[in-house]
C-alpha cells in the first residue's frame, strides 16, 4: 500500500525524503495534476489579491437591490444593493482560510492518533480506534450542526468541528500505513538500540507513511472546503454583513430569476476550487499506485 521503499527508508539523513520527491515528480507528470494545481492557484490568487482590485467596499451600497450589471457594478448588485464583484473578490478568504486551518488541525490530530495507535500494540490501539468509529457514526454535517446549535455560529468552532470530523479517516489511513512499518527490522533495531519511542515515531515511521498521507490530506482539504462552504451557506459560518461565498449564495438565491450573478460567481468559485483540489489528490494517488506497481504510471 505504501509507496515507500524499505531499502530507502533505512538510510539515514536527507535521502530518506526521496520517496516523497519521486511521488510529487510523478504526480506532476499527469495532466490532471497540472490542471488541478492551475485551478487552485487561480482561485487562491483571486482570494489573496482579489480584494486589491475590488472597486467597492464589500459592505458598501452601490445601487438598488438586484440591479443588473452596469459600468460601476460590473456584475450587478446583490439582495441589499451591494456590489457583487467586490463581495465576490473579498468572499473567498474565509472559506480558504477556515478549511485550510481545519484540514491542518485534522491532519495533525489524525496522524498523531494513527501513529500512536499503530505503535502502541495494546489496548490503547483498540480504544483510540473505537473512539474514531464513534465520530464516523455521524454524518459529519450532523456533528457540525449539533455543535453549532449548542455553541452558536463561531468561526473557531467551525475549524474545530470540521477538523475533528477529518481526524478518524486520517487516523485510519496513518494507522494502516504505519502498521506495516512498525514490525520492520529497522524499527526493531532502533528499539533494541534504545532509541526513544517518540524519536522512532518521528524518525523511522512517519517518513514512511507520507505518500498515503499526502493523498489523504488533499482529499480531506476538498471535503473541508465543501463542508465549511456548506455550513456558511446554511448561515452558520460568517455572519452578515461579511462577504463570504457560501453566505452570498444563500443571500442572493431569492433573486436568481432577476440577477443571477450573486449566486453564479461564488458557485463557480467553490466548484472550481473543489474540483482543483480533487484533481490534485487524484493525480497523487494515481502516481502512488503507479510507484507501487513498480513502474511508471504514465
Amino acid at each position: 500500500m505504501t509507496a515507500a521503499a524499505p531499502a530507502v527508508a533505512s538510510v539515514p539523513g536527507s535521502r530518506r525524503r526521496r520517496p516523497l520527491v519521486i511521488l510529487l515528480r510523478r504526480s506532476w507528470r499527469l495532466g490532471r495534476t497540472k490542471l488541478g494545481v492551475a485551478l487552485v492557484l487561480l482561485l487562491a490568487g483571486v482570494t489573496l489579491i482579489g480584494p486589491l482590485f475590488a472597486p467597492h467596499q464589500p459592505s458598501a451600497f452601490a445601487g438598488a437591490p438586484y440591479a443588473h450589471p452596469s459600468s460601476t457594478t460590473l456584475l450587478g448588485t446583490d439582495n441589499l444593493g451591494r456590489d457583487v464583484l467586490s463581495r465576490f473578490l473579498w468572499g473567498g478568504r474565509s472559506i480558504l482560510g477556515l478549511s485550510l486551518a481545519a484540514t491542518v488541525l485534522g491532519l495533525v490530530l489524525g496522524v498523531s492518533i494513527g501513529l500512536v495507535a499503530a505503535y502502541s500494540r495494546s489496548l490503547l490501539d483498540d480504544v483510540l480506534m473505537r473512539v474514531m468509529d464513534v465520530i464516523l457514526a455521524f454524518p459529519s454535517i450532523v456533528l457540525a450542526l449539533v455543535a453549532v446549535a449548542t455553541v452558536g455560529p463561531k468561526l473557531w468552532l467551525l475549524v474545530l468541528v470540521v477538523g475533528l470530523t477529518t481526524v478518524p479517516r486520517v487516523a485510519r489511513v496513518t494507522r494502516g500505513a504505519a502498521l506495516e512499518i512498525v514490525n520492520r527490522d529497522y524499527v526493531q533495531a532502533a528499539e533494541a538500540m534504545g532509541e526513544s519511542r517518540l524519536r522512532i515515531l518521528r524518525g523511522e515511521i512517519l517518513p514512511n507513511v507520507t505518500s498515503p498521507l499526502l493523498v489523504e490530506a488533499s482529499l480531506r482539504l476538498t471535503y473541508a472546503i465543501g463542508l465549511i462552504a456548506g455550513l456558511s451557506f446554511l448561515g452558520f459560518g460568517l455572519q452578515p454583513p461579511a462577504a463570504d461565498w457560501g453566505l452570498m449564495i444563500n443571500e442572493n438565491r431569492q433573486g436568481l430569476t432577476v440577477q443571477p450573478w450573486g449566486v453564479v460567481m461564488p458557485v463557480i468559485a467553490i466548484a472550481l476550487l473543489t474540483i482543483g483540489t480533487s484533481l490534485i489528490s487524484d493525480g497523487i494517488s494515481r502516481a502512488a499506485a503507479g510507484i507501487d506497481r513498480g513502474g511508471d504510471s504514465e
Partner: protein, 326 residues
C-alpha cells in the same frame, strides 16, 4: 482478533455486528447529549439569550430537567427516546414526534427515490466504463465523476436550481413545497430536482468502485473463457461479469445510501423540502435543542443501521468472506 467463542458463522456475525451497532448508538446518544446539554454554564440562558425573563428561564430549566444531576438528565432523556417520547420542541411548543412525523415519511421517500435512481445508474456507468477501459468514454466519465464527487451537495443543488428551476430554463419547481396533509408521491414534479441532486452526489463513488471492480473481473479467466466460447460481448458483460463485479461494490453502495442520511440535510434546505434534514437546519437556527438532539440521534441511527446492512450485504454476496466466517 478476539472473537467470542460461542458465536460462529453468519448468525454470530450478525449478533456481533448488531451488538456493536447498539454500542455505537449508545455512544452516539452520549455524544449528542454531552454536546447539547451537559455544557458548562446555563443551557437555558444560552438558548433564550440575555434578554430572557426569569420566568421563561425557570420554565425552560424545568422542561429540560436542568435541576437534576447530569446522569439523571441523561437517563431521563434516553428513557424518553426509547419510549418514543422525543421531548418537546421549544420553538413550536409541541411534541417533537408530532413535529417530525410527516417529515420522516417525506425524507424516507426522497432517499428511496435517490437510491432507486442512483444505484442502477452508477452500476451501469461503472460497468460500461470498465468495458471500454482507456477509451474516450472511460476517460470522459472518469473526469465527470471526479468533478461530481468533488462538488459539495449544495453547489450541485444550486446549479440545478439555476439551470432547471430559475435562470436558464424554468421547467421544474425550484422550491419543493409539499402541503403537510398530502403524501410526497402526490407531488412527483417537486421531487425531481432534490432527487437529481442526491443522485449526482451519491453516484460518482459507486460508479468508480464499480468500474474498478469490473475491470478486475473482465480480466479474469472465466470471462476470457466465456468470450472464447463465442458468447456475445453483451452476454459476457451482463450475465457473467456483472454478478461477480457487483459484490465488492455492495458495501460502497450501502455506505453511500447511508451517506444520503447526511446528504438530505443540505439538499432539503436548498429546496425547502419538508423533511428531517430541513427541520434539522431550522432547529439549529432556532437553537431548539430538544429537536436538535432528537433529529441528530435519529439521523445517526439511520446511518448506523444502514452501515450494519452494508456489512451484512457484503458478507452475503462474497462467498470467500462467507466461508471464512463459518
Amino acid at each position: 482478533m478476539r472473537r467470542l467463542p460461542l458465536l460462529h458463522g453468519i448468525p454470530g456475525f450478525i449478533v456481533r455486528r448488531s451488538a456493536l451497532g447498539l454500542v455505537t448508538l449508545f455512544l452516539v446518544s452520549l455524544v449528542v447529549f454531552a454536546a447539547t446539554q451537559a455544557l458548562p454554564g446555563d443551557p437555558a440562558r444560552a438558548i433564550l439569550g440575555r434578554e430572557a425573563t426569569p420566568q421563561s428561564l425557570a420554565a425552560l430549566r424545568q422542561q429540560l430537567h436542568l435541576g437534576q444531576p447530569v446522569v439523571q438528565q441523561y437517563t431521563h432523556w434516553l428513557g424518553g427516546i426509547l419510549h418514543g417520547n422525543l421531548g418537546q420542541s421549544l420553538a413550536a411548543n409541541e411534541p417533537v414526534t408530532k413535529l417530525i412525523g410527516n417529515r420522516i415519511e417525506n425524507s424516507a421517500f426522497l432517499m428511496l427515490l435517490a437510491a432507486v435512481f442512483s444505484v442502477p445508474l452508477a452500476i451501469l456507468l461503472g460497468s460500461v466504463a470498465a468495458q471500454r477501459r482507456d477509451r474516450p468514454f472511460d476517460h470522459a466519465t472518469s473526469i465527470v465523476l471526479l468533478a461530481l464527487a468533488a462538488l459539495p451537495e449544495f453547489v450541485v443543488a444550486i446549479v440545478l436550481v439555476v439551470l432547471l428551476g430559475t435562470t436558464v430554463f424554468q421547467v421544474l419547481p425550484a422550491v419543493s413545497l409539499i402541503p403537510p396533509q398530502s403524501a410526497p408521491w402526490q407531488h412527483l414534479k417537486e421531487l425531481v430536482l432534490p432527487t437529481i441532486a442526491l443522485t449526482l452526489a451519491v453516484s460518482p463513488y459507486v460508479a468508480r468502485i464499480m468500474r474498478a471492480s469490473m475491470v478486475e473481473v473482465l480480466e479474469s479467466d472465466y470471462v476470457e473463457m466465456a468470450r472464447l466460447k463465442g458468447l456475445p460481448e453483451r452476454t459476457v458483460l451482463w450475465r457473467h461479469a456483472l454478478p461477480n463485479g457487483i459484490a465488492p461494490a455492495i458495501q460502497v453502495i450501502a455506505l453511500n445510501l447511508a451517506y444520503l442520511a447526511g446528504g438530505i440535510v443540505v439538499v432539503e434546505f436548498v429546496f425547502g423540502y419538508p423533511g428531517i434534514g430541513g427541520a434539522f437546519v431550522d432547529a439549529v437556527s432556532n437553537r431548539d435543542l430538544p429537536v436538535v438532539q432528537a433529529l441528530a440521534v435519529l439521523i445517526a441511527a439511520a446511518y448506523v443501521v444502514l452501515n450494519l446492512i452494508a456489512d451484512l450485504a457484503t458478507i452475503m454476496v462474497s462467498p470467500r468472506l462467507r466461508t471464512s466466517l463459518s
